[in-house]
């Protein structure tokens, strides 16, 4: 299999973190690269194990996104070799439950995080960001946009660390799930969150969980917020999902 290395330059993020994706499926790689670049990373892609190891050793990447099933060396071998040689590059493994078998614990010792296939590219981006952020907490030079502990939308403010929601400064009592849902929606105010993503992010355990669970919580959340004086902050995009409306007239 011919080795292909593609460098996707992102003019807006010259100083962005460099991410290496080792993945043998071109279609997945395309989307993942695009998503990562869109998020401001400088991403390179290698489609073989051996090429990946080589690139990882010499490329000076900040983070590796490593698939397990690869032509040549597999993901576990690459991980092992990198860690043996003392590399401390952040590594995010793309795994699947069925390919892990007994190697789970071993792999967990070496990798910094993992994501099970199939995944949403958005999740991958969030994980990458989180890993890089964790690795350099002091580095707030703007390489990675640090998600604020406090998010604002209209007269609503949400404190992630304290798990507090306030409407015009007055605290609103929310249950755990209601907070989770609001927090998820407010991670990117103004952006439409498709139902599928919300469900996967919040109810991943329920393999056959009822679809209407999201509607129930949206209804509850809306009622709580409107009771507190923040009505119509969650907008339904029919057939797509929900989003939190950003009121530009108010200060964020």
């Amino acid at each position: 299999m011919p080795e292909t290395t593609r460098s996707i330059a992102n003019p807006e993020a010259v100083r962005a973190s460099r991410v290496l994706l080792i993945e043998d499926d071109e279609r997945i790689a395309d989307s993942v690269c695009e998503a990562l670049n869109h998020a401001g990373f400088q991403t390179e892609w290698v489609n073989t194990g051996d090429g990946g190891l080589e690139a990882a050793r010499t490329g000076g990447f900040d983070l590796l996104v490593l698939d397990i099933v690869l032509p040549g060396l597999d993901g576990f071998q690459i991980l092992g070799k990198l860690r043996e040689s003392g590399s401390s590059t952040l590594i995010l493994m793309l795994t699947s439950r069925d390919s892990l078998e007994d190697r789970v614990e071993g792999f967990r010792g070496g990798a910094d995080d993992y994501l099970t296939k199939p995944f949403f590219t958005e999740e991958l981006v969030v994980r990458v960001e989180a890993l890089l952020r964790r690795a350099s907490p002091s580095d707030s030079s703007g390489r990675i946009k640090n998600p604020a502990a406090s998010i604002h939308a209209g007269n609503l403010s949400l404190d992630r660390l304290r798990r507090e929601v306030k409407v015009e400064g007055r605290p609103v009592e929310l249950t755990l799930r209601e907070f989770d849902l609001l927090e998820y929606l407010m991670r990117a105010p103004g952006t439409v969150r498709p139902r599928a993503k919300i469900i996967k992010a919040l109810w991943n355990y329920g393999m056959s969980s009822q679809d209407n669970i999201l509607d129930v919580y949206i209804r509850r959340l809306r009622s709580r917020l409107s009771d507190a004086g923040a009505s119509d902050i969650i907008e339904t995009i029919r057939g797509v999902g929900y989003r939190v409306i950003v009121d530009d007239s108010k200060e964020g």
Partner: protein, 551 residues
Amino acid sequence: MNNEERKRSFSGVVSFRTRLIGVFAFSITVLILVFSGIVYFQLNRLILDEFDKMLHAAAARGFTGPPGRFISLRHFEHLLTSNSGIARAGTEYIFLARRDDTGRLFVSRNWPEELHPSSFTEKVPTDQEWKQALKSRKRPGVHEGWPGRMDSPQDRDDQNSSSFGSFRRGFRQGRGLFLEEDGLSSIDFGLSFRGYPERGPDRRTENHILIQEKKTVSAGGEEWWILEARSAGDTLFVGLGTKPLETRRKALIQIFIPAYLTALLLALATSVWLVSRALRPIRVITREAEAISTKGLKKRIAGRAYDKEFAHLINTFNEMLSRLEEGFGRSERFGATVAHQLRTPLTVLSSQIEREMLREDPSSDRLTVLAGLLDETDKLRRTTDQLLLLSRAESGSLVLLRENFSLSRETERLIEDLEAVSSGLRIRKDISPDVYARVDPVLFSNAVFNLLVNAEKHNDERREVSVRLDQRNGFIRLEVFNTGPVITPEEANRIFQYFYQQDQAHREQKEGLGLGLPIAREIVHAHGGELELVSSDSRGTTFAIELPIEN
């Protein structure tokens, strides 16, 4: 066979064990009845024979002594009581009457009053007749068939009294009756007999005794046997009351009935024991077969030193299991393979849809289409995950991706979810804060949620669920209680078997496949914990997850 028949679980009307015991007990009872009948009949015959022998023996002994006349009653009595006499017949209820050749009838003291000689012998001559006959006779004792009889001297004048009665009276009083003939005085005669050896040889052997007949006579409300024997001119009547016979027969029955009942009880007990013993292999095989769930298909029924039929059954069953295991193994592998094969396409699909959505203008109509696609893709992913989980759980090879996880918070969240998807449920919770464990978040949440869903699904009109989470003695314990139907001990094992549903109603009402509890248990086991049914009674049912706290 249609689907309905396949689903139905059969319950026999009568237990085979009961039936076998019945057959056994019945056979044994019949055997005992027949046997005891035969034994009773034989014993009865033996008794009859014995009495008969006694009669004959008495007849033989009754003739002991010289033929001809008795000198006196004393003589007769002496004969009766001497060693050679009737006393040796060993019975007190044999009585004798002897008529000598003069026609006189001597009757033993124990002769029953109600049995008059006329009831068993020819006309007894009156005293008058006898005296007449005696006078006209040349030589008494030679004359055969003498119709007369003797009488006691005291009663000679008593013409009207019953000759027999008076005679008896005399006998009883021990008065001697003797012959006055040929000038022989009683003393002479008596003297002449004094030297007669008591144990002397009997001139008559049994061969000379002619048994005439045995009569059964009814008198005084009782039956009597009278044996008439003759020898050298003497006639001997041996009488026997059948009362002792009846008594012995009754005694026999009295022995027989308790013995029979005891034997019957013993037979019943023995048949219960034997049948239980004989059926033990069936019980063992059933129990072992029950223990072999779809998960434990690797197990086989252990062959033991059973009878051939059972060995054959076990072999057949084990062969069936092998085929089943092969089939299940194939489907497990199939499930895992399908999940594995779907993984990449699903990732491709969702990532490309995501990319398209990113590129699309937020107000575009195409966004709806793409979101719909994403939804479907995610549903497909969930189905795949479920398929993989099921096949992994069934084969006991779950893969855990452990993380440090707040069980307290997750439990709260799951309870909230349960509230959101169910209606009218009253949930009480007692959740200790800050219970953490290294678990696979997705799988563990799945197990807990399955338990909660189960509590909701198998609830009754009380609609109560309570959840408790705490941490003590090195264990994290999560208890889920619900009001609802009682889970019987028989069901208790089965509810953890795959595809088991508590009852038909639930099977039809709810969409569940009976996978929740088995999968939950498998997940908990994979975490090194235990999920069990704690209790189930009219108040409700409690399940508990126990997880050892890792250091």
